[in-house]
Amino acid sequence: MPEPPVILAKGTGAATAAGHAGTASGGPGGAKVFAPWNDPDAKPLVEFRSVTKLFGEVAAVDDLSLKIYPREFFALLGPSGCGKTTLMRMLAGFESPTHGEIWLDGKELTGTPPNRRPVNMMFQAYALFPHLSVADNIAFGLRRDGLPKGEVAERVEQMLALVQLHGLATRRPHQLSGGQRQRVALARSLAKRPKMLLLDEPLGALDKKLREQTQFELVSIQERLGTTFLIVTHDQDEAMTVADRIAVMDQGRLVQVAPPAQIYEYPTSRYVADFLGDVNLIEGRVAAMAAENARLTWCEGRPDFTCPANPDLKPGDTAWFGIRPEKVAIDKDMPPDRPGQNAVEGTVWDIGYVGNLSTYHVKLDDGQMVRAQVANRVHLARREISWEDRVWLSWGKDDGVLLAR
C-alpha cells in the first residue's frame, strides 16, 4: 500500500472545510484538524466488529469491521445491492447481524429493539405519518418518551426553526413540497437528539439543484448540532460534498475508507477509482520499483510510464496505472522532454462537450482510449484541437496512481 500524504477532511470545499476544521480546533486557522480516525486514542461512537449478515445464502454484509467517531459525518457509498443499506438497518435495529457485534457508545446492540436504540433514522421516502400534521410528526418520538407537553412544544419549535419550516406546523405531509417533506423528516429524526442520525439516501427524491443546496444545509446542521451522521448514498458527488470520511462498499465488504480527497486522489483499487469520478486505466507490467517512483511498461516499444510507487507491487507484476482525465494535458505539439514527464501520442477520436468542460477521447497508437478533460476557457469556435488531429497527452510523474488490483 502506498502511504499517501494525509489529506485534510474536505480540503477543497472552502466553506465546509472551514466549518469542519472549526469544530475540532476552534478556528479555521487552527493547527489541529478534525481527524479522529488518525488518533489511536480516540474512542469510536460506533464499532462494527466482523459483522456478517446473510439473507439465505447471500451475504449482504460480509465480515465487515468499521469504526465511526463522534461528530463525524460518515458516508457509506456504493452501488445498489452492495450492502450499505443493510449495514445501516442493522445499526437502527431493523435487521440483526448473523455474526459479529455492533457496539454503540460502549454498549453491544444485538437484541436491543429499534425503539430502545439511541439512534434515529431518516427514511429514504421520508416515511412521514400522513395522518399527522408536521408538528405532530416531529413531536411523535418526543411523546413516546413521555416528555412534558411544554417541553414537546418547545422542542418542536426548535426543530422547525432548525429546518426553516416556520408557519407550516399545522400542514399535513401531502400539502408540502418534496423539499419541505425532506426537512420535516430531518426535523423528526433529530427531535429526540439521537447520539447518531442515520440517513438513508436522504436527498434521492429531490431534483438536482435542490439536492445540491440541501447537501450544504445538511452539513451546516450537522456542524451546529455536533451529532454524528451516517449517510447511505449511491451518489458519489453527494458523499464527496457532505462527508468527513467515505466508505466505499462492494458486495458486502468495505473496499476503502478515507476522507473524500484522499479517496479521490489515492484510490487503492480500480473499483474505487472507477466508482468515484472518471478515470483512465492502463494495464501494464511493473518494470522497476523504487522508494518513490515506479516504472510501468504498458506498450512494447514505447517509453515506460513513471508513476508513484506502490509497495504492494514488485517488478514483473501486472498493475494498472490510473489517471483522472482532468490531470491529462493535451497539446498539438510534443511537450518538452522533462525528467519524470510522461507523454504519449494519439489521434482525437471524439470530443465530449458539456459546456464548461470538454473531454477529448484520444486513441493511442496501440488502440487504447485515453480521455483528457480541459476547461473551456476559450470560445468553442476558437478551439485549436479538432477531430482526427494528432495530439500529445502528457502528465507529471506524481499525477496518477499505480494500482495492484
Partner: protein
Amino acid sequence: MRGGGWGRRTLIAIPYAWLLVLFLAPFLIVLRISLSDFAISQPPYSPVLDLPACFGEADLPAAEGEAPDLLSCLGGWADQFWGLVEEWDFDNYIWLTQDNIYWLSYITSLEIAAVSTLLILLIGYPIAYGMARAPKAWQPTLLMLVILPFWTSFLIRVYAWISILKTEGLLNQFLQGIGLLDEPLVILGTNTAVYIGIVYSYLPFMVLPLYATLVKMDESLLEAAQDLGCTRFTAFWLVTIPLSIPGIVAGSMLVFIPAVGEFVVPDLLGGSETLMIGRTLWTEFFGNRDWPVASAVAIILLLVLVVPIVLFQRHQDRAQEAGR
C-alpha cells in the same frame, strides 16, 4: 365546444341513466304506493297513477295538431297529477307510529346490524391484517379463499347453517361427541343464530376493503414509528389503525347497511323473537298484502339508512381531499 365534450357527456350520462331507471324510478313508485290507500283490488292499492290513461287523454287534443293544444294537453296531464296528489295521504306513516311492532323492528334491526358490524370488524381486522402481511406469493390464494364462498348461493350457505346449528345438528353432535355437553344447545331459532349467520355471510365484505387499505400501507411507516420509540403494539395502534380508518369505514358501511334490511338470515335462522325489519316488511307485503304500509316501511328504512350513507360519503370526500 371541444370535440370531446359530447363523448364525455354521454359517458357520464350512462351511470346517471342507470340510476334514474333502476333506482330513482322504482323509489318514486314505492313512495307513491306508500301514499296510497289499501284496497281489495289488483294491484291492492288506490289510487293508481294510470299513465296510459294520462297520455290517452292528452293525445286527444294533440291530434288536432295545434300548438296551443299541446299546452292544454300538458295542462290536462298536470291537472290529473295534482288530482292524484290531493288523494295522497300519510295515513300509512301515521299507522307505523301507532303499532309498536314497526319501531321495535327498526330498533332490533339497527341493534343486530350494529353488533354484527362490530363483531365482523373484530374478526375481520386480524384476517385482513394477516392477509396483508402474508408473503406476496400467498396473497392471491388467501384473497381467493375469502371470495370462495361467493361461488355458492347465499341462500344455500344460510340453509347449510341450519344443519349445523339445529339441536341434532353437526355442532351439537360434535360438542356432545367430545363430552363437552350433555344437553344439546338450542341455537337455531335464537338471535345468536342470526348473529352467526350475519357475521358469516358479511365477513368478506369487511375483509376485502380492509385488506385493500392495509396492503398498500407503507411498511416503512411502521419502521419509522418503531425508530421513534414505539413498540410493535403502539406502532400498530398509533399508525396502522388510524391509517386503516378508510377501510374500516368502507367495510362497516358495506356490512351495516345490508344487515339492517337483512331478511334471509333472520327468516331461516332466527325465531319468532327475532323481529327484524326485513321480515316485518315481508309479512306486510306477502302476508297481509298491504302494499301501501309495506312501502311506507321501506321508505322509512331508506331514510334511516340514508344517514349513515351520507356520513360515509362525507368521510370519503374528506379522505379524498386528504389525498389518500
